[in-house]
């Protein structure tokens, strides 16, 4: 038995259609070709043969003498439709591809929208009764860079839980990166720290094992236990059920795995879920933040609860308003939020802070993709119309022998439905493939958390596909059928096809061209604007020099390094790394550039600490003495840090220009002193100024930044920066080895060149620009196809007229001018309409564009020219054919 087998799916399909001997013939042919042409060639041949067999299959069915029942008629129509499709494979393929592209694109985008906004959270029972709670207020030193919907502090949440009657149980959670060691592999995972009632309130029943008990949620005597997420369990532990009961190490503490979360459950966010959950008291293992749990002014936790039976959302909101006000009054210094917001889980599933912008982006995508479908359908309608007209005589003859106009229309309708149906099905398959790719794609959206959306087949998505396919089939496919049913039979027979087509037909086709051009123009303008925006984003100066810069991050706190050990580690790291060949300089910095972080309130020395209204929010970070040199940040006034700036010497700081402007507008900042809020009593002298760079992301407004020497302000997590002289790919492994050699048990995170930062910063701009460019190009290609088809038909119909003109002495150029002139006029009209529409439609996206106006003259000027050029090119070939018309043949007609 030969090793190679024909493609199983195809063979399975054929088995329903062909007898054993025919299958054997194909198998034999496959084997032979495997030997001579190789496996790919053989498979290709097999599939081609299968396609042919399938197309011809209806012909081999024993046909009934004459259809009597409606089922017979449908069967006959189907057979005839298949035969027609088989006869013109090129034509059929174009239509199928066009429909597939249009439907596929729409299904994909809809699936995204469905996953983000429509689909109920998997694994949550009765999600409509669950609400998420947020504190409401402005960004603050203790809450990080959120805005509007803030986490709350543990003591506040405890009070809400104890006093609330409208909520039946409250859960709280927060997610932090932790370092996990399992089976002697060290890696970073995201751990959800949750109250022990988390799974119970949400109604998420573990797939294996159990969730947490109240005892495990207690402060003291709590056993370290963990519940793994289903995805993490499948990915990391290959779905081994033995993992329940075994142990793993998180931040050097040993945890026992007690359960696996239900499949697809990710917690209360549709965007991001932790890899595992542990009881909240384990937060004490998370350095720095762990010690702030009992602090009422430190807002660390997100929370939610289930509405008590018989209570409504309004009840809960009213009660929470009161509670919020009470808490703010009772603890005026510590509690800044005056209101507690309750958001239904379905809305909160996409973090309220980014929901509106995601909604906006999704809408743009839906519109674009809808336009694409419209263009595709118009094209198909045009093609079907053309063919229907081309078969006018055939139809007329059939009508005259009694076929009945209704039957003809039914025939055409069947063809249209079949084409759209198959095309729609193909589009669905295409979309599923794309979705599978997108699901695995992790979008670096915020806080270094990689976000991904789980896409897939869903009854809602299927329904959507079916509806739009049917809708398009009826609207665009039935139309030629309807027109045929209305056509005048006798006049068709008498005139033959020498007439230039019915007047209304030409106008209609011309109108379709205009609409297609207009739609393509809108799509291309959108693409152009975002491309320009991307270009502008790329030109933004990030404030440091990424060339040859390599970064390695470490989390010393997670490995229980003390401050002294940590400082030693950083010092040794810089020394060892600078000794690596090819390395120019090494330094340590608390944060990576272009990565969001928490902000801290910075005050002038004379301002009182604790007064929440003064001072300015800034990015405060600790850096080593070689930091500015290593990152290529020039010190424009004063100096950077020196090794002499250590724990024993005077406290110093370096500020950026923005910080200087905010604190001492118009004055020289050197020599001034600042107070960093959480460190009461300590002030530092400003010894240097650096330019204002980009700290959180490329498009942020100028942000204030303040730097402190590592030796004077110790960070438990930091990044090692290595500036290399040689090509980065060569030095990266050496850097990694050297860093790992410092402490083999210390996990190293995100070892990458600094270009990666820029890539991620531009990621979403690039993704959108690419997507829209893709749409724009496909739209333009479709419009060009449409124009080509229309002109071809037009030329064929006007053969007689053209022949006459040539016979009367018109030159080739004259004929060309005739044909092209009309197309160009139509394109011009379409362009003008398109420009007007684009000007209107692009206004809402103004906010998403960087450095570009919504009516950018460059884009608005170039795109119409491009379209006119493409239209002319598409019309050229068939137009030239017109010049070769033999007047004798043309005038004779037929």
């Amino acid at each position: 038995m030969s090793a190679a087998n024909p493609p199983p799916l195809v063979e399975g399909l054929l088995r329903r259609v062909l007898p054993e001997d025919a299958l054997g013939d194909l198998a034999e042919g496959f084997q032979r070709r495997s030997a001579t042409e190789g496996l790919p060639g053989a498979r290709w041949w097999y599939r081609r043969e299968a396609f042919r067999h399938l197309l011809r299959w209806p012909l081999t069915i024993r046909a009934r003498p004459s259809p009597t029942t409606s089922l017979d008629m449908i069967g006959q129509d189907l057979r005839f439709a298949l035969r027609t499709m088989a006869r013109r494979p090129g034509f059929t393929a174009v239509i199928l591809l066009t429909v597939a592209l249009g439907v596929g694109a729409n299904t994909t985008i809809f699936s995204l929208v469905n996953a983000l906004f429509l689909r109920p959270l998997p694994g949550v029972e009765r999600p409509e009764r669950v609400v998420e709670l947020y504190g409401s207020g402005s960004p603050d030193q203790n809450a990080g860079s959120f805005s509007g919907y803030l986490p709350m502090s543990w003591p506040n949440l405890r009070d809400v839980r104890d006093r609330s009657t409208s909520l039946d149980g409250l859960y709280a959670y927060t997610i932090w990166p932790t370092s996990m060691v399992s089976e002697s592999r060290a890696e970073r995972v995201f751990t959800g720290f949750v109250t022990s009632n988390y799974f119970d309130i949400l109604g998420a029943r573990p797939a294996l094992g159990r969730a947490f008990t109240p005892e495990e949620g207690m402060r003291t005597g709590g056993e370290p236990v963990a519940v793994l997420s289903h995805g993490f369990w499948t990915r990391r532990f290959a779905g081994d059920p033995e993992i329940v009961g075994s142990t793993l190490t998180l931040n050097t503490r040993t945890y026992t795995v007690v359960g696996i979360a239900p499949e697809a459950f990710r917690g209360t966010s549709s965007l991001f879920g932790p890899d595992l959950w542990v009881p909240l008291p384990m937060m004490q293992d998370v350095p720095v933040w762990g010690s702030y749990i009992q602090n009422r002014s430190v807002r660390m936790f997100f929370a939610g609860g289930r509405l008590a039976e018989g209570r409504s959302l309004e009840d809960a909101r009213a009660e929470l308003d009161g509670l919020g006000a009470t808490l703010a009054d009772t603890y005026p210094d510590q509690v800044r939020e005056r209101t507690i917001l309750a958001v239904p889980l379905e809305e909160a599933a996409v973090t309220p802070n980014i929901r509106s912008s995601l909604l906006g982006a999704s809408t743009v995508l839906l519109v674009m993709v809808g336009l694409l479908l419209l263009i595709a359908c118009i094209n198909v309608a045009n093609l079907l119309l053309a063919r229907a007209l081309g078969r006018r005589r055939e139809m007329a003859i059939r009508t005259s022998v009694g076929a009945g106009r209704g039957r003809l229309a039914a025939q055409l309708a069947t063809e249209a439905l079949l084409l759209f149906g198959v095309g729609g099905g193909l589009g669905l398959i295409l979309s599923l493939q794309v979705q599978r790719l997108l699901s695995g794609w992790e979008m670096p959206l915020f806080f270094g958390f990689d976000v991904s959306v789980a896409l897939g087949l869903d009854p809602r998505v299927l329904a959507f596909t079916a509806v739009i396919t049917l809708g398009c089939a009826i609207t665009f496919g039935m139309f030629p059928a309807w027109r045929t049913a209305r056509s005048d039979v006798t006049s068709e027979l008498r005139e033959g096809d020498a007439r230039s087509g019915s007047g209304s037909g030409r106008v209609l086709r011309g109108g379709l061209v205009v609409v297609q051009v207009a739609l393509s123009l809108v799509a291309l303008v959108g693409a152009g604007l975002f491309a320009r925006s991307l270009q502008e984003s790329g030109a933004i100066d990030p404030g440091f020099d990424p060339d040859g810069l390599v970064m390695v991050s470490v989390d010393l706190g997670a490995q229980r390094y003390g401050e002294e050990e940590g400082r030693t580690f950083y010092r040794r790291a810089v020394e060892e790394l600078e000794a690596v060949p090819g390395v120019d300089a090494a330094a340590v910095g608390e944060y990576r550039p272009l990565t969001p972080s928490g902000l801290t309130r910075v005050l002038r020395e004379e301002e009182a600490a604790g007064d929440q209204e003064t001072g300015h929010l800034a990015r405060v970070s600790s850096v080593s003495s070689g930091y500015f040199e290593a990152l290529g940040i020039p010190v424009v006034r004063g100096r950077g840090f020196a090794p002499s700036d250590d724990g024993g010497s005077a406290q110093v700081a370096v500020v950026n220009r923005r910080m200087a402007e905010l604190l001492w507008p118009g004055e020289d900042p050197l020599g001034r002193r600042v107070r960093v809020s959480l460190e009461d009593g300590d002030t530092a002298e400003v010894v240097g100024v650096v330019p204002t760079g980009k700290y959180g992301d490329l498009t942020e407004d100028p942000m204030a930044a303040l730097y402190r020497p590592l030796a004077q302000r110790y960070p438990a997590t930091a990044t090692l920066f290595v500036s290399t002289v040689d090509e980065v790919p060569g030095t990266l492994p050496a850097v990694r080895r050297t860093a790992q050699a410092l402490d083999p048990t210390l996990p190293l995170f995100d070892v990458e060149p600094a270009e990666g930062l820029l890539d991620r910063a531009l990621w979403s701009a690039r993704a959108i620009a690419l997507l829209l460019a893709g749409f724009g190009i496909v739209g333009m290609a479709l419009a060009a196809l449409g124009i080509y088809g229309v002109v071809t038909m037009s030329v064929r119909e006007r053969t007689r007229e053209v022949g006459l003109r040539i016979a009367l002495g018109s030159s080739a150029r004259g004929v060309l001018g005739l044909v092209l002139g009309r197309i160009l006029a139509l394109t011009l009209i379409g362009s003008v309409m398109g420009l007007a529409a684009a000007a209107l439609l692009t206004r809402p996206v103004r906010a998403m564009l960087v450095g570009v106006e919504a009516t950018d003259p460059l884009v608005f000027g170039f795109v119409p020219l491009l379209l006119i050029g493409v239209a002319a090119a598409a019309a050229w070939v068939p137009a030239r054919r017109a010049t070769r018309v033999d007047p004798v043949v043309a005038l004779r007609g037929d």
């Binding site: 038995m1 030969s2 062909l18 007898p19 054993e20 001997d21 025919a22 299958l23 054997g24 013939d25 194909l26 198998a27 034999e28 042919g29 084997q31 081609r48 043969e49 042919r52 067999h53 197309l55 011809r56 012909l59 081999t60």
Partner: protein, 106 residues
């Protein structure tokens, strides 16, 4: 295509069957046609033609041996029915008659 006249392809298939004698099954017919006409038809085309010829009563078929190469499936061997021979001959005569005197063309 009337009921009493053969299409061009059908003629070719019948002739291939006659040439192959006992060994006329689809794969061999395809090979023979490719070898003699210089154009290789698809299995599907030959298959459909053979079925049509069978329906018209111009060929008979019977199942034969199976081979591992065919996944253990039998071959179907076709034999030209005597009814077909007059029609083949008519077709040939018609073609030759039309060609008479035109040998130098092309």
């Amino acid at each position: 295509m009337g009921r009493k006249s053969l299409g061009e392809f059908e003629q070719l298939v019948l002739l291939a069957c006659l040439r192959l004698g006992e060994d006329a099954y689809t794969v061999a017919i395809v090979d023979e046609l490719a070898r003699r006409t210089g154009r290789e038809p698809s299995h599907a085309t030959v298959y459909v033609a053979l079925r049509r010829l069978e329906k018209k009563g111009l060929v008979d078929s019977e199942l034969g041996e199976s081979t591992p190469e065919r996944g253990g499936r039998p071959k179907r061997f076709f034999r030209v029915h005597p009814n077909a021979l007059p029609q083949l001959r008519d077709a040939r005569d018609a073609l030759l008659s039309m060609w008479e005197g035109l040998e130098g063309v092309g």
